[in-house]
Amino acid sequence: MEKRVLITGNEAIGAGAIAAGCDCYFGYPITPQNELTAYMSRWMPAEGRTFIQAESEISAINMVYGAAATGARAMTSSSSPGISLKQEGISYLAGSELPAVIANVQRGGPGLGNIEPAQSDYFQAVKGGGHGDYHVIVLAPASVQEMYDLTMLAFDLADRWRNPALVLADGQLGQMMEPLIPHKMSRKRNLPPKDWALTGAKNREKRVVKSFYPAIGELEEYNKHLASKYRKIQRRETRAEEYFTEDAEVVLVAFGTVARLCREVVRKARQKGLPVGLLRPVTLWPFPTRRFEKLASRAKAFLVVEMNAGQMVEDVRLATSCRLPVSFYGRMGGGVPEIAEIYRRTRKLLMAVSIKAAS
């Protein structure tokens, strides 16, 4: 049997980063992700890597900017208020086409909010977050194992596409403990060489890392280049998990912590013979639009469940072109949707669509 370790989700992000060969981690304490910073302080030096508690989140993301420019695998992490502070740096990273990994262990907002789990940074994560026309690759883990696996994947995706990748977790996933199988990084990953990295221009042409295109028309050309890269990422890197969707009439849609609850709801519903399924986007950007298009021709309704006031639901409505009813159930400010309540709403929706079909 493979070796298993029992650790928190926050530590699993750290373990995944170290396994992925993260050279530099720059952090700043904030609840509920402090275990990650503490883990990196313990284990990065032991691996001969670099850990620094920066003086602020702004400093941390800019240290990432500098390290990434030299071709190092660099990472930072925080929770919601700190991620807001990092947005300037993330925009510059995207604008300079530099790979970097950022983890957001979300808590409630806006403002100081509280330290309870939330999913209220969805918009910020998937729509860009900072200024300018850009996207960050967003991965949404739903278990401690995935905190590890998707952090590793984030490093590869970042390198492959020369783009920041964000692991969007929440306080619940960060704090809970589950057994983890610490896989090694696979050898055949076929990543492009970092022939843009600033390593000293001895015996070669100089390289330039920049996000500044002042000449007339130059920036638009560059924006077009970025847009075409984003389209490629959408085609190739979309990931989602489907659970009992083949014959589902009502499809639950959820990510992260909430997806775990919805999976339980589907299990219960199936035991009762009810045609209910779950679609769980694993990449929140690129959003699994195709899957929705396909399901929209079979299913009768979607129920989107989130720990916010309704954010991903907008993307579900866009993805289905409002062809079928999309309901929403959300809890906020640290509230976690209850399985019984999701189940009740699912049944109600199922009844409504069956009546409609019969009449």
Partner: protein, 293 residues
């Protein structure tokens, strides 16, 4: 969120300057001393709660705003100073105090500190320095001593700590003092002088974190204290002496370390406004001349 407290009747005892909210600080935390001292300062100066506003960032120490019966603004981590400056500039008649921890002041918020010092806006900044991040459970602070073990310096800190007093004098603050939360009477004197000072006053209060550093801090600090008031030769207007005191390694001097008279930002702003107004008038008049048919 702004917590507004109705202007109730003027408190007559120091105790009445407390809001009544029970502090969530650990038993024995140094910050209790600072709260008690502030109540006595408010009482001594007869401050009106409705004319006094205290701003803090985020941290255990920053919770102090909620425990006082004045206007309180528990704001953004590291941003107490710009928010307090904004309020003071908009409402110059308010007594403005900013307060918070060492992380708030000298890590995330450090960029604001030199500018607050050099602008000399008439307000007081009290930093409860415990050399650690209390609220987030014991991480390294920019004032943590070299070698200190914390949850984010598992093998001892390899960084050189910031010396807040040196920094403040270097940044041209016009009042720089240090107090110890284990001596409330002395702290009351120091903070009172700070609030009475016209201009920006900075007070570092050594306020031990008993949970993440330990109770013995009180004794360790107490044994190293040197009261500047006891030294008849010490002249706080002498900048070089102040630097010297700030740089001491073998003892901890408390009291007013440096003080200088200088026009406040508001004094200068008033003159600038008058200048601007007179020049504006002249320009308008000139324009009228130019366009006269």
């Amino acid at each position: 969120m702004v917590t507004t407290e109705q202007a109730v009747k003027q408190p007559v005892t120091p105790e009445e300057y407390k809001s009544g909210l029970k502090p969530v600080w650990c038993p024995g935390c140094g910050d209790y001393g600072v709260l008690n001292a502030l109540c006595q300062v408010y009482h001594r100066l007869g401050l009106k709660p409705e004319e006094t506003m205290i701003f803090s960032g985020i941290g255990c120490s920053s919770r102090i705003t909620g425990y006082l019966k004045s206007y309180g603004f528990n704001s953004v981590h590291g941003r107490a100073l710009p928010i307090a400056m904004g309020a003071k500039l908009a409402r110059p008649k308010l007594n403005v105090i900013a307060a918070g921890g060492d992380g708030d002041a000298f890590s995330i918020g450090i960029g604001h500190f030199p500018h607050a010092c050099r602008r000399n806006i008439d307000m007081t900044y009290i930093v409860m320095d415990n050399h650690i991040y209390g609220l987030t459970k014991g991480q390294l602070s920019p004032t943590s001593p070299h070698d200190m073990l914390t949850t984010t310096s598992k093998f001892g800190s390899i960084e050189t700590p910031i010396n807040p007093i040196l920094l403040a004098i270097g940044c041209q603050a016009t009042f720089v003092a240090r107090a110890f939360s284990g001596n409330i009477k002395h702290m009351v004197d120091v903070i009172t002088k700070g609030i009475e000072h016209r201009g920006f006053s900075f007070i570092q209060v050594l306020s031990p974190c008993v949970t993440f550093i330990g109770k013995d801090q009180f004794l360790i600090i107490k044994n190293l204290l040197h009261y500047l008031e006891d030294d008849p030769d010490y002249d706080p207007s002498h900048r070089t002496s102040a630097f010297h005191v700030a740089d001491e390694k073998d003892r901890i001097s408390v009291g007013v370390i440096y003080q200088k008279k200088k026009p406040t930002y508001m004094d200068q702003l008033e003159i600038l406004r008058q200048n601007a107004a007179s020049k504006k008038k002249k320009k308008l008049a000139d324009l009228v001349e130019i366009f006269r048919p």
